[in-house]
């Protein structure tokens, strides 16, 4: 079945089983491997993408449900690291192994789009669905605050 949606700013049509989770369409069909597989049950957040701006677990999102919607993956956030969240992630040296970080970044970007100056409680609430087994949570928290500052400064910081 042909399903059409907006992916990272471009029009995308895929012809797959409509029940296939978006995660596997992105990874196996379209070769966008920045979005990661971690649990398959929306428990770890490694597969987080944005659908119409909301952070969503792509491993439990049937591709048919995104027809006509706007999907953004880590590859579409910015290719040149210019997004405030990416800049903050670099500045705070967040990653260790890095595997969960696409999901963390997408969840953080979604939080900041809605909450310009998130509190620690906001960050916990928005990111508690994203596991980092290396334990970079302190850096993630700092980076989200920094990203908020970068954004508030009109992209300068």
């Amino acid at each position: 079945m042909a399903i059409t949606f907006t992916l990272n700013g471009g029009r995308q049509t895929v012809n797959v089983n409509p029940q296939t989770p978006l995660l596997w369409v992105l990874r196996d069909t379209l070769g966008l491997t920045g979005t990661k597989f971690g649990c398959g049950m929306a428990l770890c957040g490694a597969c987080t993408v944005q659908i119409n701006g909301n952070a969503v677990r792509s491993c439990v999102t049937q591709v048919s449900s995104v027809a006509g919607k706007t999907v953004t993956t880590i590859e579409g956030l910015s290719a040149d690291l210019s997004h405030p969240v990416q800049r903050a992630w670099m500045a705070e040296d967040v990653p260790q192994c890095g595997y969960c970080q696409s999901g963390q970044i997408m969840a953080a970007a979604s939080l900041l789009a809605k909450t310009a100056k998130p509190t620690d409680a906001d960050i916990s609430e928005a990111l508690r669905g994203n596991i980092c087994r290396c334990g970079t949570y302190a850096q993630i928290r700092r980076a989200v605050h920094r990203a908020a500052e970068i954004k508030a400064g009109g992209g300068k910081a």
Partner: protein, 746 residues
């Protein structure tokens, strides 16, 4: 003693280097080879190349799983070479025994290669200076290096490294004494923070992990494994599976011949044209299993067995004074039993491998901590020579020891051979949790007789755990091996005249393997908890009591034991109680121990532990709510890991260790019923999330010129014990069994 030589750019490195590159290779000669170094074939494990473009290429022969190897090891080379870090490129090595061991585990990459990498850099720098001096027809002594450039001091002339590479590549390698290392004060990179080499790729989603490997024409496989170790397929009905869109076929995989080692577990593979179809097809398989010899294994019953064994005499591992006599004289003794369950690694990236078998060769792309183990098992499974197994190493989405064990890679190779085309085997999270090489379940029995002041006059400790060697010898291996007994057990650092360390036997029913910190987890928990128990019983301050137990400054005499010291020289890395004392005193200062008293559901706990040659002391503050929920407002940890290469990455390892320890202590538990593992995903094997971890973790690195030691693992053990000691201080509830989460605290 190390050797540096110039090598051909060709050879097994293939096309990494171009014509005109200066390529140097360095070799760490192992201790046992030192005496006969002249007869040892030169097999470099470190490669460094300077290209005519000025690009410096460093071959990373060890894996990157988040500990920063691909950054810290090249920093050592670049520093001595006086290279511009921006010009450094890291190439990941394939598996090849000519690199020496590539097994990235045991927290030893920096300590093992600290010298040879710097020596390779220094040799290159001398050769570039010589090449410049020849070009200018001046004495090399008139030349020096500035960043990526050779400078002729008298004339101010300069030549960039790239312009000199071709000429330098024709020069002999200087003798070691002619290529002196920089003074510590001249270090450009070492000891300073440096961003992770792969940082930008990670933040843009471009970094390639095993999960992202792709070969044209590959199919996807998901394997239904026998639920019980050693089980076999009795019958398999795949009719429904084959109806799933995208599924091509099913393929049986033979059960392993014991011992399991790194062989595939067996079962049935579903082959499909994408991962999802393979997963779906697998759910439709109707398999009847013969569960085999471990069908009756029940972890609750097994716990009782371990504890019962721990109460009986075992093998004596270390003996000081006369413990029996001292106990008899004391009359009264204090006993305590501790327990730590099986633990799973659960790296964020499940196990995954791509294999392409063709023309008698196998090409593999995978996330592995040990590409040579991949070569060995694939060679054995396919009956082809090891050198025909080409193992490319991707980034690893976490490892923690699990990805040293390449059973999943062997599956991919076996399937590719059967199919005659490339295959990607993708493990689900359920596969990862259920089919781990678990950290051993362990029971510890502790006994002490104390003086009036509460000081131990006799101390007996006995551990029982199914040993890691049981994975490789399921018949004979029942006692702990020297290496893992040496993880916080044989080397108990307390100054007690009558002290005996024992170990009892345990047979394994699952695959046991090493997991971040390994035996230090359960040994450190028991020793540091029992010390805290004795302190409280004596009405003493736990810090003061711990310092008294550590006792006078000395090097532990372990000559009469089997102590292996993490494979390092005991002369270079002795167990030095002065360093343990110092980190303990420092953490007390940093956390302002004693300023706030424990009680009213707030508690402070302390523990100190040496592992992987590094000394760590940790203080944990907990708050326990009326509902018994535990919050961790603050953790302070002081680390003496000798010379630090990259402070920022090192601190990150210890912050991460606290998070890893939080998972172990609060919720880490794998159990089994009728031989099958009960846990399956992050819902029933929870790991710490951002809202559950310590709100503040302060890591302090001791400024030290001692030789570098491990940083990936040593943070975990003292955190766990200090956390449990803090819970006692807050609530009066002593944690003797992990995990904490199951227990009623208030």
């Amino acid at each position: 003693m190390n050797r540096i030589e110039r090598v051909s750019r060709r050879g097994f490195l293939g096309s990494v280097f171009s014509a005109g590159a200066l390529v140097l290779a360095g070799r760490v000669l192992q201790l046992h080879a030192e005496t006969s170094s002249k007869s040892v074939t030169f097999q470099p494990n470190v490669y460094l190349g300077i290209e005519p473009t000025g690009k410096v290429i460093i071959v990373a022969h060890r894996s990157e799983m988040g500990t920063g190897n691909r950054t810290s090891l090249p920093m050592l080379v670049a520093d001595e070479l006086d290279a511009d870090w921006k010009m450094v490129t890291v190439e990941q090595a394939i598996g090849d025994p000519r690199y020496g061991s590539q097994n990235t585990d045991g927290s030893h990459s920096v300590r093992e290669f600290f010298d040879v990498l710097r020596e390779a850099g220094a040799s290159g720098r001398v050769m570039l200076i010589q090449a410049a001096a020849q070009r200018w027809k001046v004495a090399p002594t008139e030349c020096e290096t500035a960043l990526h450039t050779v400078v002729h001091r008298p004339s101010g002339r300069r030549l960039a490294y790239g312009e000199l590479a071709a000429a330098a590549s024709k020069l002999p390698v200087p003798k070691k004494e002619d290529a002196p290392l920089k003074a510590r004060s001249a270090w450009r990179y070492v000891g300073k923070d440096m961003h992770l080499y792969d940082l930008a790729d990670i933040c843009t989603g471009k970094a390639i992990y095993g999960m992202d490997a792709h070969i044209d024409g590959m199919v996807y496989a998901s394997v239904e494994h026998p639920p019980v170790l050693g089980g076999k397929v009795k019958s398999c009905d795949d009719k429904e599976a084959l109806k799933v869109a995208g599924v091509h076929q099913t393929i049986p995989i033979d059960p392993f011949k014991p011992p399991p080692a790194f062989q595939p577990l067996g079962g049935v593979a579903v082959i499909a044209d994408n991962t999802w179809s393979a997963f779906q097809g697998r759910k439709k398989l109707n398999i009847v299993w013969d569960s085999g010899p471990n069908a009756e294994y029940d972890s609750t019953q097994y716990k009782d067995e371990l504890r019962s064994t721990a109460r009986k005499s075992g093998h004596v591992i270390r003996n000081e004074g006369n413990v029996d006599e001292a106990f008899a004289k004391a009359g009264q003794a204090i006993e305590a039993e501790y327990y730590v369950p099986l633990l799973a690694h659960a790296p964020m990236e499940p196990e995954v491998a791509v294999a392409d078998v063709r023309d008698g060769k196998v090409t593999i792309w995978t996330c592995t901590q040990n590409p040579q183990a991949v070569q060995a098992i694939v060679s054995a499974q396919l009956s082809i020579p090891k050198e025909n197994v080409i193992c490319h190493v991707t980034l690893l989405g976490g490892g923690f020891g699990r990805k040293s064990k390449p059973d999943y890679v062997a599956e991919a190779a076996v399937l590719s051979k059967k199919l005659g085309r490339p295959v990607k085997v993708v493990w689900s999270r359920e596969d990862d949790i259920k089919f781990g090489y678990f950290n051993a379940v362990a029971a510890m029995y502790m006994k002490a007789a104390v003086s009036e002041k509460g000081r131990p006059e006799a101390w007996l400790q006995r551990s029982v755990f199914p040993p890691i060697p049981s994975t490789f010898d399921d018949v004979n291996a029942v006692y702990g091996d020297a290496g893992h007994l040496g993880q916080g057990w044989t080397d108990v650092p307390f100054d007690i005249s009558n002290l005996r360390v024992e170990n009892g036997p345990a047979r394994s029913h699952v695959r046991i393997g090493w997991l971040r910190s390994v035996a230090n987890i359960y040994h450190g928990f028991a020793v540091q908890s029992f010390a805290d128990e004795l302190a409280h019983r004596a009405g003493r301050d736990p810090l003061e009591y711990l310092l008294e137990l550590i006792g006078r400054d000395r090097v532990l005499d372990l000559k009469n034991t089997s102590y292996t010291n993490y494979g390092a020289s005991y002369d270079v890395y002795p167990v030095d109680t002065a360093r343990l004392r110092r980190v303990t005193q420092m953490v007390a200062e940093k956390a302002q121990w004693g300023k706030r008293k424990s009680g009213h559901r707030t508690g402070f706990g302390i523990a100190a532990h040496r592992s992987f040659l590094t000394y760590v002391a940790t203080i944990v503050e907990v708050e326990v709510t009326d509902q018994g929920q535990v919050h961790i407002p603050r953790v302070d940890t002081v680390v003496d890991a000798g010379t630090i290469v990259n402070p920022d990455l090192t601190r990150a390892q210890f912050e991460g260790a606290v998070v890893f320890g939080t998972s172990v202590a609060r919720t880490g538990e794998i159990t089994a019923t009728k031989g099958a593992i009960n846990q399956s995903n992050f819902n029933n094997y929870p790991v710490a999330r951002i809202n559950e971890v310590p709100r503040q973790t302060n890591v302090y690195l001791v400024d030290s010129t001692a030789p570098p030691a491990g940083v990936g693992e040593p943070g975990v053990p003292p955190f766990i014990a200090a956390f449990c000691n803090a819970i006692f201080a807050a609530t009066g509830t002593r944690i003797r069994d992990l995990p904490v989460g199951k227990q009623k605290l208030v």
